[in-house]
Amino acid sequence: MLLRVENLTVKYGNVEVLHGLNLHVAKGEIVTILGANGAGKSTTLMTISGLVRSSSGGIFFHDRPLHQLEAHGIVGLGVAQVPEGRRVFTTLSVRENLHLGAFTQTDPALIRRNLDWVYEMFPILRTRRSQLAGTLSGGEQQMLAIGRGLMANPKILLLDEPSLGLAPILVKSIFSTIREINKSGVTIVLVEQNARLALKLADRGYVLETGRIVLEDTAKGLLADPEVRTAYLGGV
């Protein structure tokens, strides 16, 4: 198993927001985590990335305990995240943002190759490479955030609501890019509000409700599940 989350409990101050979460991701999979606002999806990803500390339980990547590592060490192992709200470095150029994505990488040839790959995937970023990231459109910023994540040469990429605030046509294109990234060998964990699209893309999925996994199935199974249909797919 590439990534295992075991009985993960997370508190903000005295408030427990994840109550013993269990999930796993196999190599090569696309796994989606669905859930309403405030269910704890971002918290789960942030805890995997080491920005939020767990109060109990464990996170294992290739059997290495991530919960004992600092955030920067986790990226170095090949776990990258594209955070909710993009969080590009607005006053740095597109090129600098991408190079920051490769901060843990030491092989210049590999960095070069990944940069070419990102520019090929998102040609607009090449055109805009000298522009400040804050001046990009929302969609372009999302592309930059994904490209920046890929520059870390990740084995697993955690994507937090990549469709947030994008026009439907752009969402489609971002999702097909995610599939492409996955085909190139990167395992994907996808947090989404857009449950229908996410389940069409994913192999498996988890449904998170107020800090607990309440459902876990193949994407097909979840798409057909009556409860999922009413709660997350608009009852159709």
Partner: protein, 301 residues
């Protein structure tokens, strides 16, 4: 006109010093959103350490005045940098997740501690630098008399600022510092060790502030344990003037404040020299709190 140009060179020389100190405020503010109130005292410590090393090592005898002082400056920078990094470890890091006010109180406490430590070690009276070290001559340029010392001072600050700018713009660590100043969380997601970035900032800022202390000692010939207060406040004004958190802003703000002050002292009244700086601070806070470069590149270090 001649008086104006003379005061301009004077203002730039002093402004260079303000700029060096201001960089420390601005860089720390950039990554921690904290005003390091003890920074002015690190400047004082630089001056006193410089004097002690100057008197005890005899570097200027062995190496000649210029090389001797260059080595001395490097030593002061190194020592004050270490003190700065220790300050961060002891006074700020434990409070990283506490409410902001705790860190502010801790900063004020550190300032009082340093000031008293210097007073206890060196006494409360003015201490005098040997004044036969550096050239006291002046050169005449376009009919304007410029003391050589002033030129050396200004050139040194420019060199240090250029070095810092290149470091921040061109190196991996410099890029990490800029990224952490914009969004610490996102910087961590890039694999940047933010604690290390903060340590670098607390090495670089105090190193520049410390060497500024030495420069003031050499330029004016005398130092006092409270000197960090006035210089600190002026450099802080310079940092705000340029846009706090902004590195080129601190450089510009420092030079500008030096010139404003020199002009004010000449054309308004010598007695009002310090008041003018604080007037600048108040006006900036009222009319343009983001400073000169603050808006365009608000969250750039």
């Amino acid at each position: 006109m001649q008086l104006f140009l003379e005061q301009l060179t004077n203002g730039l020389a002093v402004g260079g010093i303000y700029a060096l100190i201001a960089l420390g405020y601005t860089m720390v503010y950039g990554v921690l959103k904290l005003i390091n109130f003890a920074h002015g005292d690190l400047f004082t410590i630089g001056a006193y350490l410089g004097l002690t090393l100057l008197l005890s090592l005899g570097l200027t005898d062995h190496l000649g005045p210029l090389a001797g002082i260059a080595v001395l400056a490097a030593m002061v920078m190194g020592l004050v940098a270490v003190i700065g990094a220790l300050l961060e470890r002891v006074a700020y890091r434990p409070l990283r997740t506490s409410p902001r006010l705790s860190a502010v109180v801790s900063a004020l406490g550190a300032s009082i501690f340093f000031q008293n430590a210097v007073m206890l070690l060196y006494g409360a009276r003015f201490r005098v630098f040997p004044h036969d070290l550096l050239p006291t001559t002046a050169i005449t340029l376009f009919g304007v008399n410029i003391p050589v010392m002033r030129i050396i001072l200004f050139a040194t600050s420019l060199l240090l600022m250029a070095g810092l700018y290149a470091f921040v713009q061109k190196t991996r660590t410099g890029m990490a510092i800029r990224a952490a100043a914009i969004d610490q969380g996102a910087a961590k997601l890039m694999g940047i060790d933010v604690n290390r970035v903060i340590m670098y900032v607390f090495l670089i800022g105090p190193a520049l502030g410390g060497v500024a202390g030495l420069m003031v000692g050499l330029y004016y010939g005398q130092i006092n344990f409270t000197m960090g207060w006035v210089y600190g406040l002026k450099a802080f004004t310079a940092a705000i003037l340029g846009g706090i958190g902004n590195i080129p802003g601190a450089m510009l703000g420092g030079l500008l404040l030096g010139v404003i002050e020199a002009m004010g002292a000449t054309y308004i009244s010598m007695a009002w020299k310090d008041a003018i700086s604080f007037l600048v601070l108040i006006l900036i806070l009222i009319f343009r709190p983001t400073g000169i470069l603050g808006e365009r590149v608000a969250d750039k270090v």
